[in-house]
Amino acid sequence: MSHIRVVVVGGGQAGFQTCAALRDNGFEGSLTLVCGEGILPYQRPPLSKGYLVGDADIGLRADSYYPEQRVGVVTAIAAAVDRPAREVLLDNGVRLGYDRLVLATGARPRSLPVPGSRLDGILPLRTLADADALRKALTGCRRLVIIGGGFIGLEVAAAARKLEVDTTVVESMPRAMARVLSVEMAAFLVSVHRSHGATVLLGRLVTAFDGDVTGRVRKVVLDDGSRLDADLVVVGIGVVPNVELAVSARLPVDDGIVVDSLLRTADENIFAVGDCASFPSPHTPARVRLESVQNAVDHGNSVARTILGGSAPYDAVPWFWSDQHEVKLQISGISTGHDHTVVAGSLDAGKFSVFCFRWGRLVAVESANRPADHVVSRRAFAAGKLPTPEEVAAPGFSLKEFAAP
């Protein structure tokens, strides 16, 4: 076990964590990290938040970490996997032999298939290079239109308002963050953005972009015929998992690379972790693919233990966070399909948690500026000790007291 060769494809949070956890757990074999972006692993969360307004400290580890930990960093794109030969073929012609291969290929921004979407000034946000381009474009930007009222869109809106840029968010669903948030929390967030001067349009589809003679975007056309002025557009309408490498290796994919509870693909020597992996979870009714730092870190830790001989199924509690203006939003669990909510705390004071239930069972807790609820709810989910809707609604309910051992 100690002298096998591990190759990790993808230098995002999940790929990095796989390497770090292998060494932390005593792995002595050769370890190669294939980074497609040409830079050492960094934190993505700040790219849509503090990084846009000046905070630039985003490296995951000092440069010296990689040689010290004997992590061979290769800057290249992995083009194919030769399973019979157990080799990864890189776009620079190099063939990397592996005994265990970890695919941490991440995801890429979904593009908007409408006329004009290739005009200048329409930007995605995923990588550091994207963030640098956006940060530069925001300087001197007069009218920003953000397509998509999800995490990325709303975080960029908050950053843009901080820079005093005129900002409009266009969301196709009737509420913001519809895929991940309760009605109550979504409405609260929209009110916060509006109070900070952003225009938030809900239930509106973008049908086209119009440009000027230089090929730069000038108008965003909506399905009600209205035309929004814009000199910069950010498209944040979700991501597509990068499954091409797995497909080339004839591994099953289904909205992500299909893995089992040990994060193994159909090939027992190949694993998938992070945004690109579709995995079974005890916390969701069906298999799931999650895009979060938590998922990336816990997948990395889990796959490292498995490679080192462990056999514990992956069962980490999913959690998420977002910073938007004065709101620290934290979510534990997965609220998909919830049919009942109970709000604890004060909406007026902007400090409350929404408890989301499905068939009477707690499935998610969304907290605004109530970090203790979040921390305790994660422990409650992990322990399976969950309050009923009646208990949460009772006067004086304290999650901390409920969850105390």
């Binding site: 580890r61 970490y65 970090p371 979040h374 921390v375």
Partner: protein, 108 residues
């Protein structure tokens, strides 16, 4: 613009690093691969996994504690003590040069 920060582990090991002014005590640990501070949330005062104890003999004035930090310290995995802080909420300045912090037994 550096400050020498000493990180002491429960097992007695000690690591001393120069942390750049403007970075937090948390970043000083994480970017130097000092174990014992998890900082799951990356430094937003939202997870409580960069809990530290300021050395009991400390005389250096510390940055003030905000409500979120205070609330999180109520639910940390290791017990809260009067000298408990979250390392992500402590930006390093020249004034903190020589600060000694202790890691708790556990963060989760």
């Amino acid at each position: 613009m550096m400050a020498k920060i000493t990180y002491k582990h429960p097992d007695g090991t000690v690591t001393i690093v120069d942390v750049q002014a403007g970075r937090s005590i948390m970043r000083g640990a994480v970017s130097n691969s000092i174990n014992g501070i998890l900082a799951e949330c990356g430094g937003g005062a939202t997870c409580g996994t960069c809990h530290i104890y300021i050395d009991e003999d400390n005389t250096i004035p510390l940055p003030p504690m905000l409500d979120l930090e205070d609330e999180l310290l109520e639910v940390t995995a290791s017990e809260r003590r009067p000298n408990s802080r979250l390392a992500c909420q402590m930006p390093v300045s020249d004034a903190l040069d020589g600060l000694v912090v202790h890691m708790p037994e556990k963060q989760l």
